[in-house]
Symmetry: C2
């Protein structure tokens, strides 16, 4: 009835969306259908069947097992299949001749021992780390060997049996490769190329998204890092993509392995195209993405710098972020269009805005620390310090309040909000931020969220209230320092990224754009 219709419609819609998302999926499906149809025709028509006999069914098996998504992977699997079958065939014929010459009684014993031996050795070898990619080849050796030697024993003439089988496997492999290459070929190299370019964009996107959320939010409506929602931040699509970038190293490697088997094609016109460089660039990019993950960790941390403090450095942080993201995107675009261009000016502007961020933090670093000593009057801080330590909390807050009010009166005439972030001298800026800070200090998150009641049990510290509260404040504000340091480290790693991309563009002979 109604509900059934509706759910079938929804289901068809989902399948349609799935197919539209990547048209290669549909192409691949039709190619498999075509390949098995072609190889079945060899049996359905009388003429080829009469030539090859029943062994022709092996070509169907070969097509079904060999046909992979990309051209390179199909070549690779075909190579495994071919070499495995060949080795197994040679081995089987040799052992069968030996067994045959030993007479009727010993023959099955020798065959049995040889099967056990081949099974053990191939299974042991395929666990060796450098042979793991050829796991399928070892399976092929094992079952081809068993099939040939056993059916040779029962039906006689192992050479004839293995030859027929090799012919039909070759026909199956030939059909699989031909269909894969000639009908809408899906090249592993092309996929690898696109995958790498898209990870550049997802790293840039998630950097911007993360910083935007850090600066924009009030810090209270973040989903917390609960273990249940650990992997899900539904409002952060770019983060999700970035996380999948982190996990795609295996995919890149598999694609690069497959791409090496492919002949020059499309845009990748010369032999020995440096596909392994793509994996290297991907690794360097992943190291940048680790920093984004760390930034994301600070964003969702329980220890959080007050919003106003974050707002204070907004312009500088945004400058660095947008320029770094632009550099990453432009590197991605260069790879995408296979051009080679100098990144000097972009790199320079990222560096200079990073320096500006550093300088701003430096100038207002007292904001990051509540307990603070000027370095050039260190010979006389003792009286003030002892006073602070001996005063009670209420005394201190009274004093702060008084300071704040006098501050307000003095400074509001001096500075307007508009020039806060531009070229005002640091001294004038300083007090404006101070007010902000004072107002802010009351709505700090407390940390750790679990009660630490056994505080005194370690001894050595007088557990007065004052240092504890300060500790919490100070480290909370230091979380901003962490955020900016990670951002700066991200920029530092961009140097390596630029180098790696340059290396790739040299080895892949990308065309120069502005030289």
């Amino acid at each position: 009835g109604r509900v059934g219709d509706f759910s079938i419609q929804a289901w068809i819609w989902k399948v349609w969306e799935f197919a539209k998302e990547d048209s290669n999926r549909v192409k691949f499906s039709f190619k498999v259908g075509l390949a098995v149809l072609l190889v079945s025709l060899l049996i359905l028509f009388r003429a080829p069947y009469e030539i090859f006999g029943t062994n022709i069914i092996w070509s169907i098996l070969t097509v079904a097992i060999m046909f992979e998504y990309t051209v390179g992977a199909t070549f690779n699997r075909g190579f495994n299949r071919a070499l495995g079958s060949l080795l197994a065939g040679i081995l089987a014929i040799a052992i069968a001749q030996v067994a045959l010459s030993t007479g009727r009684v010993a023959e099955p014993i020798i065959i049995g021992i040889s099967i056990f031996f081949i099974g053990t050795v191939t299974s042991f070898m395929k666990q060796w780390s450098s042979l793991v990619p050829y796991e399928y080849g070892f399976r092929v050796i094992l079952f081809t060997y068993c099939l040939i030697i056993v059916s040779g024993y029962r039906m006689g003439n192992p050479i004839r049996t293995s030859m027929d089988r090799l012919y039909s496997i070759a026909i199956g492999g030939f059909v699989a490769v031909l269909v894969n290459v000639l009908v809408f070929p899906i090249w592993a190299g092309e996929q690898l190329h696109k995958e790498l370019v898209s990870s550049f964009h997802s790293v840039a996107d998630s950097l911007e998204e993360c910083v935007k959320k850090y600066l924009e939010d009030e810090g209270f409506d973040h989903p917390e890092f609960a273990s249940t929602v650990m992997d899900e931040f539904p409002d952060e699509p770019a983060y999700k993509k970035c996380k999948s970038t982190l996990n795609c190293s295996a995919k890149l490697e598999a694609l690069a392995l497959a791409a090496k088997w492919e002949p020059p094609h499309g845009r990748f016109r010369h032999f020995f195209y440096p596909w392994s460089e793509y994996v290297k660039v991907g690794a360097v990019l992943r190291y940048c993405a680790y920093e984004v993950m760390a930034l994301h960790g600070v964003l969702h941390s329980e220890i959080q710098a007050p919003y106003n403090l974050r707002y204070t450095f907004q312009t500088e942080i945004q400058d660095v972020t947008s320029q770094a993201a632009e550099l990453v995107r432009s590197l991605g675009k260069d790879i995408g269009s296979m051009t080679r261009s100098l990144k000097t000016s972009l790199l320079k502007s990222v560096h200079s805005s990073t320096e500006r961020l550093q300088r701003t933090i430096d100038m207002h670093s007292y904001l990051l620390t509540t307990y603070c000593e000027p370095p050039d009057n260190s010979s006389k801080p003792l009286p003030k310090l002892s006073y602070t330590l001996s005063s009670t909390l209420s005394d201190l807050s009274n004093q702060l309040q008084a300071d704040l009010e006098s501050n307000n009166l003095e400074k509001n005439s001096n500075t307007t909000p508009q020039n806060m972030f531009s070229g005002t001298p640091p001294a004038a800026q300083a007090e404006t931020y101070h007010e902000t800070m004072r107002k802010q200090s009351r709505r700090l998150h407390s940390w750790p969220s679990r009660e630490v009641s056994a505080f005194e049990e370690d001894g050595g510290f007088t557990a007065d209230f004052l240092p504890r509260m300060k500790a919490l404040e100070s480290t909370a504000t230091l979380s901003l320092a962490t955020f900016t340091s990670l951002l700066i480290e991200f920029v530092a790693r961009l140097d390596h990224l630029v180098e790696a991309v340059d290396q790739l563009s040299k080895m892949a002979k990308f065309k120069n754009e502005n030289l």
Copy 2:
């Protein structure tokens, strides 16, 4: 000759080491040998061969393709094989009957179309993300269908053909499962359990290793984060293990998927054992490992806090590290021994030493900032500031030198190095660190390593030398703040880890130890 002998000896030695490293490798190899031998005997002996005929070779193929490393994976693959063959058999018989009834001309056309259709549909379905784990099953459907329908067409009686084939596939599957379960079974659950426990230890190890290197080194002999050695820090074995922990999510998931197919066994005695919880704990642990990666990033960063500053907070950082590592290890041990114990006291001591670290950083936070303003005399800093800004570099350094000397004279009588880290009042501590800092400030790394020559081109800043140099100093010291913040964040994430492990131990009914 000699060289040949030597290399063969070395090779045998390597193989021997490889086998000794994990004895399951050898067991697995012999099991495969045994399974193929058993199934070959069905053909080598006359009696079973006469019953089953040539179709018995399908059981060899089944064993070779179905036999997997763990019991669960073999069950899973067997299920795929069985269900795939069954579905394909039913389909093939149904279509063959329809084709047969249409007469001699239409029959091959209908068979051809059906093969094309099955090939296309199965290939499309296996790309659907929730069906990807059953990829092998779809391959089985495809080739079994083709084989049955095609050979049924040529040899007549498709029902007889498919039945014979299903029998021999069932025999092969039966042998594979029997050998896998009865001879030295390798359980996926056991592997998953061990894998998770060892990742706990590798995270703890790499945390300690990373912090040890951070505190111990002079900061100059680190291998730099060059793109060529990006993945290799030869002197950090634990880091390597931790990195492999980051990439093992796919492995854990595959093992959990396989473990679900296994019957209760060994230590895992009840049905519906919560294997998926292992994957969740692994995910939470990975989030802790991300922080270790970030710490490692700071350790190898180009921007580096001076060594003496790091040394200043040594005791506190080491306390937090060793206690956090102990907590992680104890969680790992609990899972390993399948006991459930309260972690309250360990958690408390980690939290209190983290607080101590925070407090220490707070008390000496002025060390992290060269440009520094006390918060409670903010109404009168202007004259000093303008003086500082207008003074030349040599003036400043002269003044610093004078301060330093007077400082030395005054303070050396007050404090001795032994009580630097213990309970001395913060005021006395303060000046001692100050000297350290002054001496240190000359050997700071300069950053960024590339020259930023186009500094003025952005405008808006007067490019005087003083603020720039300060900026570099300040952010370099802030790198220590970053390191400690990341360490604190690591501790904050331990809460979630404790919770996740507790959840696992509840669901898996671990025995209570101290309740």
